[in-house]
Symmetry: C2
Subunit: 633 residues, 2 copies
Amino acid sequence: MASNSSRGSSERHRIAQHRLSVIAGHLQRPLNGDTTIRATECKAQGTRPDVATEMKTVPRRRQEIMKWNGWGYNDSKFIYNKNGQAEFTGKRYRLSGMIIPGLRDWMESTFGATVQHKTPATPVLNTSAVQPPTLNEAFVEGIKSTGIPFSHDPEDRVFRSHGHCLHEIFPLREGKVGRVPDMVVWPKCHNDVVKTVELACKHNVCLIPFGGGTSVSSALECPPEETRSIVSLDTSQMNRVLWIDEKNLTAHVEAGIIGQDLERLLNESGYCTGHEPDSMEFSSLGGWVATRASGMKKNIYGNIEDLVVHIKMVTPRGVIEKSCQGPRMSTGPDVHHFILGSEGTLGVVTEVTMKIRPVPEYQKYGSVVFPNFEQGVACLREVARQRCAPASIRLMDNEQFQFGHALKPQVSSIFTSFLDGLKKFYITKFKGFDPSRLCVATLLFEGDREKVLQHEKQVYDIAAKFGGLAAGEDNGQRGYMLTFVIAYLRDLGMDYFVIGESFETSVPWDRVLDICRNVKARIVQECKDRGVQFQPLSTCRVTQTYDAGACVYFYFAFNYRGLSDPLHVYAQVEHAAREEILANGGSLSHHHGVGKLRKEWMRETVSDVGLGMLKSVKDYVDPNNIFGNRNLL
Amino acid sequence: MASNSSRGSSERHRIAQHRLSVIAGHLQRPLNGDTTIRATECKAQGTRPDVATEMKTVPRRRQEIMKWNGWGYNDSKFIYNKNGQAEFTGKRYRLSGMIIPGLRDWMESTFGATVQHKTPATPVLNTSAVQPPTLNEAFVEGIKSTGIPFSHDPEDRVFRSHGHCLHEIFPLREGKVGRVPDMVVWPKCHNDVVKTVELACKHNVCLIPFGGGTSVSSALECPPEETRSIVSLDTSQMNRVLWIDEKNLTAHVEAGIIGQDLERLLNESGYCTGHEPDSMEFSSLGGWVATRASGMKKNIYGNIEDLVVHIKMVTPRGVIEKSCQGPRMSTGPDVHHFILGSEGTLGVVTEVTMKIRPVPEYQKYGSVVFPNFEQGVACLREVARQRCAPASIRLMDNEQFQFGHALKPQVSSIFTSFLDGLKKFYITKFKGFDPSRLCVATLLFEGDREKVLQHEKQVYDIAAKFGGLAAGEDNGQRGYMLTFVIAYLRDLGMDYFVIGESFETSVPWDRVLDICRNVKARIVQECKDRGVQFQPLSTCRVTQTYDAGACVYFYFAFNYRGLSDPLHVYAQVEHAAREEILANGGSLSHHHGVGKLRKEWMRETVSDVGLGMLKSVKDYVDPNNIFGNRNLL
């Protein structure tokens, strides 16, 4: 590995020298006045030294601010306060510190989950439940000599032993700890990663890259059969914006940067990537590349594959990167697409050049009420057909509409609840919408103010053709705000016998209604067949639109009281739901990825030959399975 | 291979059966009224049996309508008529049958090429110059038993032995024939291709897929070192539109279809793909996939990677295809991107599902004159920054503006020439544009009439900020029309000692001016250094805009009179031009691809590890190098 890397790097040096001599050739022999090379105007301007300021959402010891066995920040959680009302603690969110009067009743009526039946989590990790680390002494010595920070602390190791699948969080709540990494390292830059990978190859250590830790595909689970030392390569301290290029509207960023930090840093210069996955508070650029992430506003900014201009990844074979930052090329199969979606099986993404855009001048939320889901889907399909989708447009089904209501914070003003009541009367009694069938689309427009208002009119006009009624900005804004607190709700559920998960797919337009109906029905049937005592929550929304189809996002949760093995029941129902999705023409995943959770379907997804291609790349790049998370293949 | 294929196909059968049983499960146990599966509404509607009508631009014996040693149709060529005027023959084009009064003088003044100095082509192929075929008898017998049409005819074989690089056409004009395929086969459908590939694997025959034959990267050249029988797998008779899905706006098409036929067939149903590469009269869908093609109107319709929803390719290992037609997925690295750009090295693309759009209501051309190239580039950059590019926007330099003038057909009306003169006066004298510095952008808008007019205003307003002056629809329309006749001009040049080629790159915005200036200057210098007696034509245009850069297209041609080895001189200058492009931050290719012509730069383009990945895929998919065109690697 070391010799590959230095040969690779001296080769790149030779090529760079050659190029400089080509350009210098012009300077030596000026041809005529017009062709004087003005080299200075070619340099990336607008590089602000201050944007290299480190700005860490995520400290090395993440458990200082983040939950070790649940979602998100320690200080933010749903609880029932001493008055028995649901409340969201902390200060970080719009909802923080507020009472949510409807939530408790909703939990009871939806799940049969009452406050009497508690299943609290183990509050503190019992570190003696954590296996002592299997250390590879030579590797440890090697790391020490590099100066790269590391840890064998059981809390650090447990934190990085999992993502956020139900079957990963549930045991942690019970204080159960499975296979965890033996060591954590925190490289600070590309070269640190090169050294770490070289050492891992030399001493045969299993490396698992760890970015935001938000995987929901079991991608981060440590393979229990792994006998070598497992090292978690935590990228969070490798998180600088290295340069901003205002001429080309690109930024070069270290891959450990977290979504919220990236946007915040770029905003300071008046830019953004616009990439806003629901996990953006915690997920990392490297993770997005590894999983083919999708963001809420992809209609404007594109998905991750549209956003990246250049990627650098460290592999056991050496560093892979293209030599050019051109916008689009035909130079054989696109090697960026060997990296995108590789889910940590080939190497560590260290640096990425991303497209940036000026922060939009104007932003406007909106919402539309439809008489039923079918009309809503037809409207979204028409919006896609006319290629006039807003930055974001999402259609939730009736259950999610009810759920959204349950999450309304206590309003301080009588006037606002009067208004709400008036709206409700108008929509249900006056317009004749059936509250058990209506559904809501939330919208977000952004851009030049004038264009936004034009665009908005066009979309609402289409909505009207499908019986849609504009229902105001507030409902839209609340819908998007809730996105970031939904994940905290599962922890509340799990305090009261309720377990659940989200899963998603992409599907051609003409299959959307069937998939929504069939998958929700299948979930209900499977729960019944497996002895679940309470009606499950089985709900969906259309969360992205494309020319040729849509992304559909499901929530599934149930009260497991009375079941002896709830995780097993859950897994079986989820498995059946995925079979149902595939049978109805949906994909294995739109953006969550495959991980270990969905490996079994990979062969039928990409065909034998496709799977063989992926394996041949893996076998070439990482013959000793150093990147041994066992994802995908 | 046979066992792989039938195992693959019985596996797919099993999976399909499984899925049907999943869906049928719903029918057996109706859950409630709401969830009755209405299966019929899921079928692709709007499948018109008549669109499966075969419509062949390209007959099996292509030489019946196409030139065997030049570009395009036999009946269409530039000549000097008996009055010594340039004329374009035939009836197929807008320009056909017209006198082009300025062309002869332009040829003389630009190249020093006079009608006295002729280098006519050999009019007819001397079939005895063609090596007898090296036949693989077992393969031939196998093909005979399948009923797939085939030929050993020397004319058929020569036709498929080359693309349209200068170094391929020039020797043909001299009657020289190198290594050619030994046999041509014409499969008519996917299953024919499966049989052909199976036979090739079984009997170790080299297969070279042949679509439109328009390659300009030496991709189609037969490797002279190939000792096995070379079989040209001509896809042109596998060219049906299998279905149109109006619900999802997709069409499923056989990969041998030619661009003009595809659009014509879809237009009959009111649709289009909108994919219009300059080669579309002759190039094929399979070729576009294999080379990562780009179309003129990619700003609306996308490049080929944006257009494809599903691809089926036959390889020595079996058929590769995804199981889902979802719009966007995260299921590991995207195997479509292992196929796109594989340039015939992995297999034969047989069927593709492409996105289609309704034929736009309205189309409007336009043009803008800029005082100089720098202002024009700055304008295009601003249009890209505002993300308001028309369907097409191209900026040509001053030389191409002059050239465009030279190609004006004789106008029948005194009034039109008066108008032209008036425009010229206005632009040069009144507005003060210097005719030796001004340059022109051509534009095409399409869509809803109202939106087009708004869009047009926005673009012209931006142009005005950069000193641009609207110069009318005619100039725009002519610019695009000329696109299809330019390729014929090289044949005229070659009749009079002039040789030339186009080549292209993609490059970040801040490198565009330098690349244009440096590459053109380098070409001039290299010609001088190598003894070219006449000033070369060295010209460029910015032909596509992207967020992070542009595509730049160069023309390079010179009069080789007095040179003993013109092809060698040409190759050296082109090589130097590519080095100059790379040194200035341009890519190896935006859309022409790599072929054999640019292989030497692949390692530095994608890095050692990237190249190794591509090789590992090739070695897995085609271990015996059946697809032995030697492209890319």
